[in-house]
């Protein structure tokens, strides 16, 4: 009889796990709260990557505030050149640097703590971090000195300084080295039997994210190396249609790494905050497999109005196959809250249909951030994403604010909020420092979620009135014609500004509290973290 295994269940054909792991003597400590093993080498690089993630989050967050105050018609803060400069910085710092630094930290944590293994290579971890940091700093230097006003997409024939492309390449290769280090850790963990049965579900999700990262970074290398050579005048200009096609293999797929990592964080936070366990391991893992196989081709959304690729290519990549990835998100969107419901009912909170939900630990910022992330990503992000991925709707909505309205619910309200919730455990457990002003911490996820939801919805509605994205002045001041946007569109743009300010306050509170905790927080070494 063939069976579907459950994580932690030894298979008859496998030797028993080495419960001590494969850590060299003195290179591991036991977590005072969870009892899990913590590889000290990995811990150092988890800290370094997490700190840099928050630094770049701050840069991207300040940029977001400036953009929000510029698109707010009655404020219109930045001059035109600085608007596009800051827009470039915002996209790269938020979508790439903040999130990918955090994801590398997650990979090192998962590969060593959850798989009970040593980190495969300290040298690779250092090389990866040094290249990523150098790349990110170089890109920011180019952007803020006005030598790369090409926005995140850097579509040719827009041309930036060679340092910009070099920075992106360094960051991408550094990330790839970090991912290779993670895969090597997974390999030695399996070889040394440091865990029993299948890898834990959270680790499986991280593996899915790492696989998607490999696909993403290969596309990055294919597209960025020719662009770099072109910027040095060593080759001619790459074909614009080819560039867009391959660039989105980098640009959109990098957001799919986020999705897989975010869902893993949901499972982790659901477990650590409520004791939830996946309802069905096989179904949850199957959903991750659907991500691995089908989510990357969703990049084709960005080319739905491009004339170069045909209808069959567009429909296959954005509909039939991609819906299997949507199915995966729906599975996670139901199984994660269902696992929380089951855990809460087992604790006795079983009054009525939603008694378990009202009794959930809403004062725990890890829980509230994860659950709000799930709702914002699943409902707002999922619904807007699937509709915008339809060719007939995309032709209307393309390049309007409906598109940023969608992805601010997925990568900001979804991924960033989930990662903030994760930090409320990473700092006490990995940095072994306690958060101060805990009342403020408890409120932070709600403020950020409210701001980002208001901003994203307002963007979506303004986009429905035809307001373009990436536009400094929708009034076309001084032009011989008037675009004639409806008054409601202007109202919505005002709400975009208000939402941006509220979200920024939530973001700033998170950064200040986290920086304070990391550097000045009360140490909890030798005892369990203070429960939320």
């Amino acid at each position: 009889m063939s069976t579907i295994a459950i994580a932690g269940t030894p298979q008859a054909s496998e030797p028993p796990a080495n419960v001590a792991g494969n850590h060299p003597a003195g290179a591991v400590r036991k977590c005072d709260t969870t009892g899990l093993p913590v590889c000290k080498t990995a811990e150092r690089y988890v800290k370094l990557n997490a700190v840099m993630a928050v630094v770049f989050l701050l840069v991207g967050g300040v940029s977001a505030l400036l953009l929000g105050l510029t698109r707010w018609p009655s404020v219109h803060l930045l001059p035109v050149d600085w608007f596009y400069r800051i827009l470039t910085a915002h996209g790269l710092n938020m979508l790439i640097f903040w999130i990918i630094f955090m994801e590398v930290a997650i990979l090192y944590f998962v590969g060593t703590t959850l798989l009970n293994s040593r980190l495969a290579s300290k040298a690779l971890a250092f090389t990866s971090f040094a290249m990523m940091l150098t790349g990110a700093l170089l890109v920011n230097a180019m952007v803020f000195t006005g030598r790369a006003d090409v926005m995140m997409t850097s579509y040719v024939p827009l041309r930036a300084h060679p340092g910009f492309y070099l920075g992106v390449i360094l960051f991408a290769v550094g990330t790839l080295i970090g991912v290779i280090n993670f895969f090597a850790t997974v390999y030695i963990a399996k070889r040394d039997h440091t865990y029993e049965g299948s890898v834990p579900l959270v680790a499986f999700g991280a593996i899915a994210a790492a696989i998607i990262a490999v696909v993403t970074l290969l596309h990055g290398a294919i597209v960025m190396i020719p662009a770099f050579l072109w910027s040095l005048d060593l080759i001619g200009q790459p074909d614009a249609a080819w560039y867009r096609l391959v660039w989105w293999g980098l640009g959109h797929q990098s957001q799919q790494i986020n999705v897989a990592a975010m869902v893993s964080v949901w499972y982790f936070l659901a477990h650590i905050t409520t004791g939830a366990k996946p309802l069905n391991q096989a179904v949850c893992r199957g959903a991750f497999v659907l991500y691995i196989l089908f989510i990357n081709i969703a990049s084709a959304h960005h080319l739905l109005v491009d004339p170069g690729v045909g209808a069959t290519w567009k429909i296959w990549n954005t509909s039939y196959a991609m819906y299997l990835a949507v199915l995966a998100s729906m599975i996670h969107g139901f199984t994660v809250p269902a696992s929380v419901e089951l855990a809460m009912r087992k604790k006795g909170f079983d009054k009525g249909l939603f008694g378990w939900l009202f009794a959930a630990p809403w004062r725990n910022p890890g829980f509230s951030a994860f659950f709000l992330s799930l709702v914002i990503f699943g409902f707002l992000g999922g619904i807007t994403g699937v509709t915008l991925g339809t060719q007939q709707i995309n032709i209307i909505a393309h390049n309007t604010l409906r598109i940023p309205g969608h992805f601010h619910t997925t990568v900001v309200g979804g991924t960033s909020l989930a990662f903030m919730g994760l930090c409320y455990y990473v700092v006490p457990l990995v940095f072994r420092r306690e958060y101060a002003w805990r009342g403020l911490v408890r409120v932070q996820p709600y403020v950020f979620a409210a701001g980002i939801t208001l901003m994203a919805l307002a963007m979506s509605f303004a986009g429905s009135y035809g307001v373009p994205r990436r536009h400094w002045d929708i009034e076309f001041s001084g032009a011989p014609f008037s675009p004639g946007f409806d008054a409601a569109a202007h109202f919505m743009m005002g709400l975009v500004g208000v939402g941006a300010v509220v979200a920024f306050i939530g973001l700033l509170v998170f950064i200040l509290l986290t920086v304070h905790a990391v550097f000045l927080g009360r140490s909890n070494e030798g005892r369990a973290m203070t429960a939320w």
């Binding site: 063939s2 696989i211 084709a300």
Partner: protein
Amino acid sequence: MEERKHPIQRLMDNTWLLLFLGVVLTFISYTAWGVIELMSLPNATLP
């Protein structure tokens, strides 16, 4: 009696096969097919 793993379980436990399939499927379905479509476009004729 030694239990046999379900084929899907074997797939889910095989990180390297998943990595291979993830890379190859995307490159065939999105990248290679897309590039072929672009390369197949006839040159535009000037008016």
